[in-house]
Amino acid sequence: MSSPPATAQQSVLALAAAAYPRVYGPNQVPTTPTYPYVVVSAALAEARSYTLDSRHGMRGGLIVLQAFGHTLPDTAMETVIGALLDRRLQIDGYAPTPSRLSLAPVVNGAQAEDAGIVGLTATLRFTATKTAHS
């Protein structure tokens, strides 16, 4: 029995949600969220290792984490990072490397509409090798 198709986004969401209760994908945050919460997104990016017939062999991958809270949401962020760091996403057609921390959590900019909310942004990267059957 084969496993269901998995995208980078589906895989990162599953791993993060298993570790922290309030994890959302982009545009999935409730209108009145309970804080702190973490928004996760992941996508395959640039292609490389092209063959002579112009078929790629690898993709770079970027995971973006954004945590928001009334106070610094460092515990939420660290919990989600802990669920992803050194772990491999499951992506249909690709064999990803373990994820590496790229941008360590940074406090993001405040603007008027975010009044009172503190945000942290972090990123992880991985490389995904195309599997033979894809």
């Binding site: 990016a45 993001n108 900019g109 603007q111 509409e113 975010d114």
Partner: protein, 124 residues
């Protein structure tokens, strides 16, 4: 080459290395700045039109370390939008994280390492 000549040869290279690395890091810093600017230009066509111009590159030495400082000018800059850097790059609760610098960084690191290695090999 006698041992004395070998010592003199490597001492000569060592004495030239800081200046050469300053050149390499300066050139690579400008390339990273340009990539960062290109990413920013692709993302903003109206409200933050001036932001890309406010991303600058400076290089300086701190003792034996060469430092390239690349990023938006907090105080403004020619586009008067450098102060938007944090929110544009890292996002907020109601703003996406564009990560213009973060997206340009892996290529920049690879390019810097290659340029430094190539330059050192030329010196040997």
């Amino acid at each position: 080459m006698t041992p004395e000549q070998a010592v003199a040869y490597f001492e000569d290279i060592t004495s030239k290395t800081p200046e050469v690395m300053l050149e390499v890091v300066t050139a690579q810093g400008v390339k990273f700045r340009n990539d960062w600017r290109d990413n920013a230009r692709e993302n903003y066509d109206s409200h933050a039109r001036g932001y890309a111009r406010d991303i600058t590159a400076d290089t300086f030495t701190e003792g034996e370390t060469v430092v390239a400082q690349i990023g938006p000018e907090d105080g403004g800059g020619p586009g008067h939008q450098g102060f938007l850097g944090r929110i544009l790059e890292l996002g907020g609760e109601h703003s996406p994280a564009y990560l213009n610098a973060e997206r340009a960084l892996p290529v920049a690191v690879e390019r810097l390492e290659k340029a430094a290695t190539d330059r050192l090999e030329e010196m040997l």
